[in-house]
Symmetry: C2
Subunit: 366 residues, 2 copies
C-alpha cells in the first residue's frame, strides 16, 4: 500500500460558521493507494472525536497503527489496490492541522483559547478545498464513524454533486441531551484544571494533563460496552505490585488510569473542548426548522447508515432516525444494525457482517 | 407525624471488615411516628450514596424535605400513623454521624484520610447496635433504594431473625465493571483536585469543592434517564444572561453546573470516596465463592425486589439476578418492574404501581 503523508497549506480565507474566519490554514493529510487517471476512485475518511489523519498502516515514528487499519488496506474492505483513500486531521485538531496549539500569526503565540469554534460544516468546507487541491471533483465515498459519520452526512447534504456514497457509521443526526451533558462534564474537568489558564496554557509552558486524563477516563467508558468491560475485567482485583495508584482496588480502575494517562500525553486540551463542542452543535436539521427529512432532500448520494447493538453512546435509535428520514426524503439509503462487542468503538473493528455490507455498498454501482 | 432527631453515641468498639476498628462512634438518627408497646412496628430505611438521616418531613433548619418524603409520612405508603420509621446517616457519612470529617480522638484533628474504609456489612452491624439501643429485636421491614437496597439485602443475610421483610429497590447484588469504572472517574477527579491534600484538606482549612462538583455532575447524569433529560432540556440553548459560565451553550449544561455546585457545598469529599468504595465492594456472594443463591439461603425475610425500566445505572437485570437467586434459594420473594421516568432516581418518587406494590408488601402478613 502506497502511503503519503503531507501537510498541505491553504491560502484561502475560510469563513467559519461562528462568524469568524481563518486567513489560511494547514491540513495534515495522509493518503493510501493511488488516484486513477479518471480521478473517480477517491474515498475520503473522516475521523472521530480524538482521531487523526493516520487512518491506516503502521506509522514508523510513533509505532501506531492507523485507527481504521482493520478496514483500510491492500485487499481489505476498503481496498487500497483499487481506491485512493484520503484521510486528514480536522481543523482544530492537534495532530498537525491548524488548531489551538498552532501559532497565531497575529500574536506569534499559540492560538490557545483564541482559536475559533469550528463546526462539522466548517470541516466539510475545508475538506472540499482539499478535494479541489487534489483534483477530485467527486468522492466515490465519504465515510466515517461517530463524529466522522456526521461529516459524511454533512458532505452529502452540502455538496450533493461531489459525493456518490456516504458511509454514516455509529453516528447521529444530532446528539442527545445526555450526550451533551457527558461532554460538558469532560469540558468542565478540563477547564478547571489548575494548569488550564483559561485555555492559554501553552504560553505558560504547561498543560492541563490531569484534567485531560480524567476527561478521557470518562470518555473511554462511554466508548466501550458494558458487557465488553465486564468480560475483560469483571470485578477482578488489581495485583498490588502493578497498581498505578495505591487507592486502586480493581483492574478496570488501573486500566482506565493507564488509558487516561496515555491519552493526556498526546492530546491537546483546547482541541478536546473544540471537538466536543462540534459534536454538540451538529444538527443539520436546524436550518430546516428541525425537519430532518427536509434537510436531507437535496442529497444525491447513496447512504449506508450503520449502528451497533452494544453502542450506548449513539444507540441504534440514532441510526434509525437518519434512515427513516432518508426514506421519507426519497433517498437511496440502507440501514444496517451490526452486532459489535466493542460498544461505540465497534465501528473501528473488522467484523464479518459489518465489513461485507460495507464492501457491498462501496463496490455495488447499480 | 412525630419527628425526632438525635445523635446517638455508641461506646462499643466496632470491628470493621477492613480489619480496623472504631473505638466508639456516633450515629445521627431521625425517627418518624411512634414505636408501639410490642415494639413490632419498626421500619429501618437505609439511605443511598449521598443521602442522610433526613428521610421524611420538612427540616426547618435547612428547608429541605426528606429524601423519601413522597413515600413516608402520615397516611403515605409507609404510614407513620402505623409504623415507627428509623432513618440514620451511615457511618462514614457527612451529615452528623462519625465520618472522615469527625474529630479523631487520637490526633484531635479531623480523621480525613485516616477514617477507615467502611462496607455495607459494617453499616448493617452498626445499624444492629442502633436497633438494640432502640429496643427493637426485629424490624418489620428494612428498605432502601440503590446503595440503601444493598443494605436491606445485607440485613436479611446477616441477621435473618431480626428482619421480617426487605425492600431491595433499584439495587444490585454487585455492581458492574462499568459502574466501578464510573465511580473511579469520580474518585480520581476528587483525589486530584488541588485542594484535596491526600484527603487531609480540613486541617488545611480548605475543601476540594471543584472536584466534588465535577464528580456530582457526572453522578447526576447517571441517576437520571436519558429520556427524562431529553424531555426536560432537549437541546435548548441557555439564555446568555442566566449562564453560570460563559462557555456554556445548552440549558442542560447550566443545570448540571448548578446541581454540582450545590452538592459540593454540602458534601464531604472523603465521604464521597468512602461511599463509592462501599458500593464497589458490595458482593454478598463473595463469601460463598461467588454463589449468590448459596449466600441467600439463610434468609428468612420476605423480599420485594424492585427495578425501574428507565434505570441505566442498575438496570432491571440487576434486580432480576437477585430475584432468580432468591427463587432458587427457596425464599419468599417478589420481583416488580416499574415504569419510572426518573431513571435510577425513580425509587425516590411516589408512583402509583410502585407505591401500591410496596404498601401491599409491607402490610400483607399472610
Amino acid at each position: 500500500m502506497k502511503v503519503r503523508s503531507e501537510k498541505i497549506t491553504f491560502d484561502e480565507t475560510l469563513s467559519l460558521q461562528c462568524g469568524k474566519s481563518l486567513p489560511g490554514f494547514e491540513l495534515m493529510v495522509e493518503t493510501y493507494g493511488e488516484l486513477n487517471a479518471q480521478k473517480n476512485n477517491a474515498i475520503l475518511v473522516c475521523h472521530a472525536f480524538s482521531g487523526s489523519h493516520h487512518a491506516a498502516g503502521l506509522d514508523e515514528g510513533s509505532g501506531k497503527t492507523g485507527w481504521w487499519d482493520q478496514m483500510i488496506g491492500a485487499g481489505k474492505t476498503v481496498d487500497t489496490d483499487k481506491y485512493f483513500v484520503v484521510s486528514l486531521n480536522n481543523l482544530g485538531g492537534c495532530h498537525g492541522s491548524s488548531g489551538p496549539a498552532s501559532i497565531n500569526a497575529e500574536t506569534n503565540d499559540p492560538y490557545g483559547a483564541l482559536f475559533p469554534e469550528v463546526t462539522v460544516l466548517d470541516w466539510v468546507k475545508s475538506q472540499k478545498l482539499l478535494a479541489e487541491k487534489l483534483g477530485i471533483d467527486c468522492w466515490e465515498m465519504v465515510a466515517g464513524g461517530s463524529l466522522g459519520g456526521m461529516q459524511a452526512l454533512q458532505w452529502a447534504i452540502t455538496y450533493p454533486e461531489a459525493i456518490k456514497k456516504a458511509g454514516v457509521i455509529a453516528a447521529s443526526a444530532k446528539i442527545t441531551t445526555q450526550n451533551i451533558a457527558l461532554n460538558e462534564v469532560a469540558r468542565e474537568i478540563i477547564r478547571k484544571d489548575e494548569n488550564f489558564h483559561d485555555g492559554n496554557y501553552l504560553v505558560q509552558n504547561t498543560s492541563p494533563k490531569q484534567g485531560l486524563k480524567e476527561a478521557r477516563m470518562l470518555g473511554h467508558i462511554t466508548y466501550l460496552s458494558e458487557s465488553s468491560m465486564g468480560k475483560r475485567f469483571g470485578r477482578n482485583l488489581q495485583e498490588p505490585e502493578t497498581k498505578v495508584d495505591s487507592s486502586i482496588n480493581y483492574e478496570v480502575e488501573n486500566y482506565l488510569q493507564y488509558k487516561g494517562e496515555q491519552f493526556a500525553d498526546s492530546f491537546d486540551a483546547n482541541s478536546y473542548i473544540l471537538m466536543t463542542k462540534a459534536m454538540d452543535s451538529f444538527d443539520p436539521a436546524e436550518t430546516c426548522g428541525g425537519d430532518l427529512v427536509e434537510s436531507l432532500k437535496g442529497i444525491q448520494a447513496k447512504l449506508l447508515i450503520t449502528s451497533f447493538d452494544s453502542d450506548w453512546l449513539f444507540p441504534k435509535e440514532h441510526g434509525l432516525e437518519i434512515q427513516v428520514a432518508a426514506m421519507k426524503a426519497g433517498l437511496k439509503s440502507s440501514y444496517l444494525e451490526c452486532a459489535g462487542e466493542h460498544g461505540h468503538d465497534s465501528f473501528l473493528f473488522h467484523q464479518e457482517h459489518y465489513a461485507r455490507s460495507f464492501k457491498n455498498f462501496l463496490e455495488n454501482n447499480e
